[in-house]
Symmetry: C2
C-alpha cells in the first residue's frame, strides 16, 4: 500500500529542490535534468500545482515556475490532497447508507482512530521542514 503516490512524491521532491536553491524561477526543462523525472509527467504535475495555487507560472521564453508560498506554508498533506484526494483509510460509509458490515464496525472505528493519528502526524510536515538536517 502506498501512502504517497508517484506524482505526490515527485511534487514533494521538486518543491524541496526549488526551496533549497537561491534561484527563484525554474523551467521544467531545467528541473527534469536534475531530478530525473519524465518531462511530460512533471509538466502535468506542475500545471496542476499552478492551478492549485502552489506555484506561480511565467509563460514565454525564460519563463518557468516559482513557489507561490514560502516553503513553510506548503504542507505535504495539501499535496497529497491535490494528487490523491482527501485522505482517508476507510471507505465504508461512503458507498452505501446502511453498512451491511455490522460485525466489523468495531474495526471501522479502530481504523478511523488510526486515520486521525496519521493525519495528525502528517499535518505539520511542510516542504521547509523536510530541508532540516541536510
Amino acid at each position: 500500500m502506498k501512502l504517497i503516490t508517484r506524482d505526490t512524491d515527485y511534487a514533494i521532491r521538486t518543491l524541496c529542490y526549488i526551496a533549497k536553491q537561491k534561484q527563484k524561477r525554474f523551467s521544467v526543462t531545467e528541473l527534469v535534468k536534475v531530478l530525473k523525472i519524465p518531462r511530460p509527467f512533471l509538466r502535468k504535475i506542475f500545471q496542476r500545482l499552478h492551478k492549485e495555487g502552489i506555484l506561480e507560472a511565467c509563460k514565454g521564453k525564460n519563463g518557468g515556475f516559482s513557489l507561490s508560498l514560502p516553503a513553510e506554508k506548503i504542507f505535504i498533506l495539501d499535496l497529497m490532497k491535490i494528487f490523491q484526494g482527501e485522505f482517508f483509510l476507510n471507505e465504508c460509509l461512503l458507498k452505501k447508507k446502511t453498512c451491511p458490515n455490522i460485525y466489523t464496525c468495531t474495526l471501522k472505528k479502530k481504523i478511523s482512530d488510526i486515520e486521525k493519528y496519521l493525519v495528525a502526524q502528517l499535518k505539520p510536515i511542510s516542504i521547509a521542514s523536510l530541508q532540516i538536517g541536510r
Copy 2:
C-alpha cells in the same frame, strides 16, 4: 486509500459471522445468502483461507468450511497479509538501492514510524475481539 481491500473485508465479515454461530460448519452457499457476497468470489476467498490454514474444508455433500483456529487466534493482520501482502506504507528502498530521494528521507522516516504505529494498533485485533460489544 484503502487500508483493507474487499477480499480481506469479506473474509473478516464471514469469519466473524461463523465465529458467532453455534453451528460449526458452513457451506459457501449458506454464507452467501446471509452475507450478500458474490458466490464465486467468496469461494475463491475461502479456498485461499483453506490453503493458508485458517479454515478447514470438507468436500462432498453436506460439506463446507469450519474455523481451523479459535476466533481469538485469527488476527486481521494475518488476513491482510494473505490478501494484500506484507503490510508497509513505504516503497522507497525496495525498488532501487540508491534512493534518489535525498530530500524526502526525513519524510520516509516519518512514514516508517507511522507504519510501526499502525501495525502495533492492528496487531491485537482478532476475529474474537470484533465480536465484543454486539
